[in-house]
Amino acid sequence: MLFPTYTFAIFFVLVLGVAWRLRSRITAWKIFMLAASLVFYGWWDVRFVALLGVSVLFTTVMGMLVGRAQTAPGRRWAVRWGVIGHLVVLGFFKYWGFFVDSLITALRPLGLAPTPLLFEVALPIGVSFFTFCAISYLVDIGRGDIEPSNLLDVGVYLSFFPHLVAGPIVRASEFLPQLLIEPDPLSVDATRALRLIARGLFKKVVIANVLAQSLVDPVFAAPTAYGSVDIIAAILGYAAQIYADFSGYTDIALGVALLLGIRFPENFDRPYAAISLSEFWRRWHMTLSRWLRDYVYIPLGGDQRGARRTSINLLATMALGGLWHGAQWTFVIWGTYHGVALVIERWGRQRRRLSRQDRLDTSPRLERLREELGLSSSHGDVPTIEDLGVAAVDESVKPSVLADRGPADQVLTADTAASAPPAQANPWPARLATFSIVAVGWVLFRSQTVGDAGQMLWRAVSAWRAPEVLSWSTAFAILVGLGAQLLPPRVGLRLEWEVSRMPPIVQAVGFTLVLLAVDILGPQGVAPFIYFQF
């Protein structure tokens, strides 16, 4: 069931009422929430409930095996088998077609075709998300970060419907402790939740759907039919669309979970306001970034094995992140493109740092100061994990913080701390440069083939003529989708605070009016979320 539908609204109202009734009886709450989540998932295709069930069972059993392993090698092997099991399932359901297509290409020169393998596998919605959650659960047990949980807890964790189909990728260490603490039923952070849901609906139904239908889909489908203005607008439009689509879903997921008394980590923090690529990745799909950091980049060696190996690790991690987005070479190339850009950015930053350091080292005043303080003048240039795009994520949402948060100031503290931009005289050149690199990447991401992407980019600069599909409404949607990210967070927080002081009935009516506005402004019919396919 899709979030922006009546079906979900009625489902959620029922679940919300019963969930809070059961919240003081935690086992009953878990059983009810598991059942509700399976109904939510089975609404699409009841066959895949079995797959989810098998995943839960397998994760629980492997988690217990990892936890009970007496030796470190035994633990490692249990983790490996658990991860391999999940990857095999993910590989079959998500990457079968990609594997066969690649095999066809490889065998083509030999005149062979893998005929018995030529069949299509239906992709279960959300399989990447719950598989990644399951892998993180097993690895965290293996690392000793968390203890194995029972079948019910693992079931609720993996299948909890707000994050089941499109994230955020919540860690067990963030989620499971919240099951142990009964949230205060007299102090639900409803105002923030309503704002998140309203904002998410607006982003998805109005911004993303309008841009997709009116501009992005037609132009990307036939770029040769359009001129430069339309193509540039479509590229900008897709940048706005994919952000509005995915962050809109995340907003709704966060709001829905919050109303149920569960806090999820933030997943987006105004990514197009970033002034570097590494900062972009600190702000875009943050839970995936940290997953890649903790379960791919660091196990590969991270930044601890020299500059060259760090670059290779970074490229491999980003390429894998690209592949996670879809079973197509364009996604791999998109990930690699970002990896290369991050390596170059990091190299440039190190060069600037060395150059600055050289100037500092030769400064007589600084040398005198060092001597007075008794400090060494040698400064190593050990790269830190924060230098790397994939490495840096929002660490503000720790389990302890989650447990402590009430409806009030902790969220504010986390938001402002996470999004405070580094001081810079004029951030706009860097911001525009970063956005341009990201937007070019989106062309690769959205295009069916690399050739199509090349054609889009070439025509963006070589086919100047009057626009055909760009209209005032789509231009406005682009402006809102991109421009809203430049608003400082305090604006929204101030609004939340003001609204939270209003009587609940006023908030309910206000929320309804927003829903009406969304209904009027959005195109009829609900398009699927882009990230469902991932």
């Binding site: 299509e120 239906a122 102090s187 639900v188 036939a222 040769t224 039919a225 309910a508 309804t512």
Partner: protein, 339 residues
Amino acid sequence: MTAPRLVRYGMAATTVWKCAVTSVVLFSLLASGSLVRAARGQEEGWRRVASVAAAGAVDRVANFLSMNRPLDWANAALGREDVEPDIEFPPVTLPPSSATTSAAPRVASVASPLRVGVYGDSLSIDLGRAITSEFATSSLVDVVDVVERGKVSTGLARPDFYNWPARLQELLGGADKDVIVFLAGSNYDQTLQDRDGNSVASVGSASWAEEYRRRVKGVMDLVNNGAHRLVWVGVPLVARPDLQRVTGLINDIVEDEAASRPWVTFVDTEVPLAGPDGEYADYLQPDGRPPERCRKGDSVHLTVACFSIVAGLVVDQIIDEFPSLAPPAPSSPTTTGPR
């Protein structure tokens, strides 16, 4: 000095639930038209039956209280009516009028390009884009204008949800098209209904085929009234046998009716997109060429590569019917035609 911290006020869980119920109820009453439309738009089955009944009840209450008027006015002002327009099919034009059959195809030029409109369900949206791409990458880019106006989850079965004949009449009245390309049929495994949502014929019954034929004839004759050419694209083979039985029947009806109407051409997609055994296939395996993935995961929708094949057939057909579009060299053989 630091800024004061803004501490949001919390809300009791019971109050939250009451607020949620209030919002859902209030929104349902204020936007009851959208509610009914959403309910009718669901697939056939118990969920739809229950939804339509519940939405109908809410709509009656909203009508009684006039609570849905503001949104209806707003939608009307934006040209988004909640009630589908009605239509009377034109009288059957067989034998075809002389105006249609004898008029020479007009010559398309840069100043007066050939206008092609692609309509239908979700399949037609991708087909429209593929046709646009086909023309855009050819020498005809400046002499053919393609407009795609498909609508997801529609067809001729459910005029209560989207009344294609009436919509076509509107579209054709507003902008004269030389060629109409129509493709719909991936949503037909359901009861045929009238504009008011009443069941007319169940799937599999004789009356279903009869009523569907009437609608197909109606659309074909409607197009003829505007002296247009109609290229009706057959529904590709689908994997589900029960659905294939319906789509096969639809293709037979359309092909049969097209054969007796010179202004209509049926483009068969079953044969070009079939596997080696003539049945549904996820991959196409043309002779001497590597396999090509043809279907998306739902086994109904086509990949871009396969839509290109269908678009090529349609473009060939259009060129065949408007010889001025053909290149000066010996014209390419027609791949499909009226049968």
